[in-house]
């Protein structure tokens, strides 16, 4: 079991009280503060060497005040009274400065204040596992890939824990701890004579879990397969491009869900708040409840409490409970709801946000970020073979590769790690240099086959970027295997012709 909190609970609680009292005295109508620590451990192996081992501890707080209808925010990587009091003063000054260029008063809803303690359940605290054990683990992975045919292999293990106290002027006191691990590798095979090379990245996703996940996830076995497959890719023929049916493995589809559905349904984008960097959305406020996003098979759910999810937590960084972020985003193909953070809902005529805030560090401003977002599996039996069986000529895509999408989340292009031809309902030979390109609504409306729970898998990333300055969020996406008709598949070698 994980230890109790590392945080000095009395200290952060006193500092929270100090900040909120000072903010109230300064005239703030609302204030909240996040205080805590984030521990990030990074181990990286290259072939037969443990190249780096870094253990990083970051302490700090971030204070947000609403003063005269304007936000002010100030943060520091310190946990002491003088820094907190200075931050109250600076945050209030920021609010007064922002007010001079603000159109109207900020309106925020009130989340019922709660006092709670939440801790992600883990069996083995990854930060208690020795550096030696982690080095052995990673070197066994690189060895497995190289023994199986790779010329090179890098492997890494990232272990992170956030401990944070959230407190606000309504009386909320939420102490939380979440833990995540990312075991991964990249295997490379080369052909010196031709100067060509091929890579195969790990298909094992990051998880909200302890070290027990790293031990049980099969990374070493995947590395052995990857070593052989990287070499096989070197000799595989290029894909024949064209419009065809594709069957996407959940190891690929999670990223497509993230980019096309996850980001397009973020309300701050729709409001234009990310127009200068992360982008806006093709969705408009009036489309809620109206737009046919995809086929009837498409039901996508926000799920803050998904076991093993990277964005799983008891309360978000606005203090909203997990149950607020359990909602349908798309139901049977119809767009149902936005993801929202504090102060956004009223802009589209809704009464309250739905628990989708995250600050990537106590010193960062909370913004709208995704909870875990997943495509529901088919309730009727449907295996991967069934999906492939319904394809005359097509492509089966495994793993996430190159990815890119326009700033309104319409035109996308995704690669993969492994590609196999489908001919007459059967899996054919491996091909390489493939990517699929599409437009979000057309793509999801072409969904005509959905795997059942037996094909469902949770994917995810440690590193979704958004906002200025950029914040990095972890998030998981579950998906079954799925079949899409009439998708444009390109051959990267021909793109370069």
């Amino acid at each position: 079991m994980a230890k109790d909190f590392s945080l000095d609970r009395a200290l952060v609680s006193d500092l929270a009280d100090l900040a909120l009292k000072a903010a109230a005295q300064a005239g703030a109508s609302y204030a909240d503060i996040r205080l805590g620590e984030t521990r990030r451990e990074r181990a990286f192996a290259r072939d037969d060497r443990l190249e780096r081992f870094d253990d990083n501890l970051r302490l700090g707080f971030g204070l947000r005040v609403l003063l005269d209808g304007a936000w002010g925010f100030c943060a520091a990587t310190r946990l002491d009274r003088a820094s907190v009091l200075a931050a109250v003063e600076r945050a209030c000054a920021n609010a007064r400065a922002a007010r001079t260029v603000q159109a109207g008063a900020i309106v925020v809803e009130r989340h019922e204040p709660r006092e709670a303690l939440w801790r992600m359940p883990v069996e083995i605290d990854p930060l208690d596992v020795s550096a030696a054990a982690k080095a052995d683990f990673l070197l066994s992975v690189t060895a497995a890939a190289r023994d199986a045919g790779a010329d090179f292999c890098t492997a890494w293990l990232n272990c992170e824990r956030e401990e944070r106290l959230f407190a606000n002027s309504y009386g909320a006191r939420l102490l939380q701890s979440r833990t995540r691990v990312e075991p991964a590798f990249e295997a490379t095979a080369i052909d010196r004579a031709s100067g060509r090379y091929a890579t195969r990245e790990s298909l094992i996703p990051a998880r909200g879990a302890g070290f027990e996940y790293a031990l049980a996830c099969g990374l070493k076995e995947d590395a052995a397969r990857a070593g052989a497959q990287a070499r096989q890719k070197l000799a595989a023929k290029p894909v024949t491009p064209g419009v065809m049916d594709v069957v996407l493995d959940p190891t690929n589809l999670w990223l497509t869900i993230h980019e096309t559905v996850g980001h397009s349904t973020e309300l701050d984008r729709v409001l234009g708040w990310e127009a200068n960097f992360a982008g806006t959305s093709f969705l408009k406020p009036q489309m809620r409840g109206q737009l046919r996003f995809g086929s009837d098979l498409m039901t996508i759910r926000a799920e803050r409490s998904r076991e093993g999810g990277l964005a799983t937590i008891g309360f978000d960084d606005d203090g909203a409970p997990a149950e607020a972020a359990e909602f349908l985003i798309v139901e049977n193909g119809v767009f149902k709801n936005w993801q929202m953070a504090l102060g956004q809902a009223h802009h589209v005529g809704l009464s309250r946000s739905n628990g989708c805030a995250y600050a990537d560090d106590p010193t960062a401003l909370p913004i709208q970020r995704m909870p875990n977002i997943s495509l529901e599996a088919n309730k009727a039996p449907c295996s991967l073979d069934d999906l492939i069986g319904g394809v005359e000529q097509g492509l089966y895509v495994i793993g996430a590769g190159s990815w890119s999408i326009d700033q309104q989340r319409d035109n996308f292009q995704f690669g993969g790690q492994l590609f196999y031809e489908i001919r007459d309902g059967r899996l054919g030979e491996m091909v390489q240099s493939a990517a699929y390109q599409g437009r979000t609504l057309a793509f999801w409306n072409s969904l005509d086959g959905l795997g059942d729970e037996t094909t469902f898998r949770l994917g995810g990333t440690f590193t979704c970027g958004k906002a200025e300055p950029i914040q990095i969020a972890p998030v998981s996406h579950g998906a079954p295997a799925a079949r899409f008709r009439g998708v444009s598949v390109l051959c990267t070698e021909r793109e370069n012709a």
Partner: protein
């Protein structure tokens, strides 16, 4: 928390004296930053933050353990030192181990004006107000971010190295969108001091691009002559310079690998007009003085007149291959030419003017094949004139091919970059005869 060189030196001396490792390297970084974001001409969010980080790397028997902390408390620093030594002792011996560097000569990098530290959010609010007015005057909405800050990077080792490298900047980027949300334009700048940043001019440039009432045209995907504005050129060039990894090239894992063995150093792979240079003394885009692992950045051509002159190379790989260690740089200067952007447009019969690019990513790094999209100011060029907006498109383009034939280059200029990212890039407007647009996008 912006520490002075003397403060850092006192801290690192104290820590190094306590080290019980064979050798020790200490990196200290920190700073202060603030920003003000806006949408539709009005403030949305703002932040002010200070941070500091001390990273201790202990070297024990050919192994290195690193621990960092944001606490400057004596007990926390001692704990970090002890933990780094403990980690090092637990790790396997590194067959490519390198000891910490000794004293180095660092170039002077002019990236810091102390006045930047005095700025508060009201100074940024004035910039935002000026942008909003400039955009309102053209009937378009302003979205963007104003930011300022100062940071330092420092390093000290038990072998006698000490380096301290400060930088500071104010930056402003503006996306203007017309009132119907059907077209957009963008502009951005970085300056060393607040009074050098003309926010009205930045707003005016973004508004000029966005203030179009005519419906954007859809171009058929295919190859077109393209004029890339400096921000777009810099985006492409950044991928090229980041691909110049010596280890990957030597090991056969790179476009820059020579069939058989070795890297394509010295080969003329690109147009002779292409030069990519890193220089701490660069007048437009100075790199930092202090590079990765403490290796100094020196004035260096990575690509000179189309030939690959340098690769970046870690100290471990440099030791293994008996070559010079060269730090990777987030800053670079792509050399320019004499043609103006207007001349390039005049020389184009039927092509596209591209303001900036978005979500670029390797599609196939083996061939330097990059994908991405145009964004915030894509225009049709007809018979030597910019005529109307062109809806954004996805490109799939090999940088090897793109930079192999450059028709014309304009004067290089500093292009906008986010302060927190640390790099400074300068690039010219660029005319190429063939740029491959692969598909249409409705994204505006």
């Amino acid at each position: 928390m912006f520490l002075s060189s003397d403060d850092v030196k006192a801290l690192t001396d104290r820590l190094l004296a306590r080290s019980r490792a064979d050798a020790c390297a200490i990196s200290v970084s920190g700073g202060e930053a603030q920003n003000l974001r806006f949408a539709r001409g009005a403030a949305t969010t703002n932040t002010a933050a200070s941070d500091v980080r001390v990273r201790v790397s202990s070297h024990v028997g050919g192994r290195v353990g690193s621990v960092s902390t944001t606490s400057l408390d004596d007990a926390a620093l001692s704990a970090a030192l002890a933990r780094s030594e403990e980690i090092a002792r637990l790790l396997p011996v590194d067959p490519e181990y390198v000891a910490p560097l000794g004293p180095q000569n660092y170039s002077e990098s002019r990236r810091y004006d102390p006045s930047i530290g005095e700025l508060r959010l009201d100074a940024l609010a004035l910039k935002v107000e000026a942008v909003a007015k400039a955009c309102a005057a053209r009937g378009v909405n302003a979205f963007g971010c104003a930011a300022s800050g100062r940071r330092f990077e420092a390093m000290a080792t038990s072998n006698g190295l000490f380096a301290y490298d400060p930088r500071g900047e104010i930056e402003l980027s503006v996306t203007a969108r017309n009132k119907t949300d059907r077209w957009s334009g963008w502009a951005g700048v970085n300056r060393l001091a607040a009074d050098a940043l003309d926010a009205t001019e930045v707003g005016r440039r973004a508004a000029e691009k966005a203030a179009r009432e005519d419906e954007p045209v859809d171009l058929k995907p295919g190859d077109y002559p393209v004029v890339l504005e400096p921000a777009a050129t810099a985006e492409l060039a950044s991928w090229l310079i980041h691909a110049l990894d010596a280890r990957a090239a030597d090991e056969g894992r790179s476009f820059f690998s020579r069939p058989g063995r070795g890297a394509r150093q010295g080969e003329l792979l690109f147009d002779e007009k292409l030069t990519l240079r890193v220089d701490p003394g660069d007048g437009l885009a100075p790199s930092g003085a202090l590079g990765y692992e403490g290796v100094p950045h020196r004035a260096r051509d990575f690509i000179a007149k189309g030939a690959v002159e340098s690769f970046y190379r870690s100290r471990a790989w440099a030791q293994k291959t008996d070559a010079e260690a060269v730090p990777h740089s987030a800053s670079f200067h792509m050399g320019g030419g004499d043609a103006s952007l207007e001349e390039m447009v005049r020389a184009t019969k039927h092509g596209v003017l591209v303001t900036r690019l978005w979500y670029t990513n390797w599609l196939d790094p083996r061939e330097l094949l990059l994908t991405g999209l145009t964004r915030d100011g894509n225009f049709l060029i007809e018979n030597g004139r910019v005529t109307r907006p062109v809806r954004n498109m996805r490109f799939n383009e090999s940088l090897a091919k793109l930079f192999r034939k450059i028709e014309a280059l304009g004067p290089s200029e500093r292009v906008w970059s986010a302060f927190h990212e640390g790099g400074a890039c300068a690039a010219p407007p660029l005319l190429v005869e063939r740029f491959s647009f692969a598909s249409r996008s409705s994204g505006i």
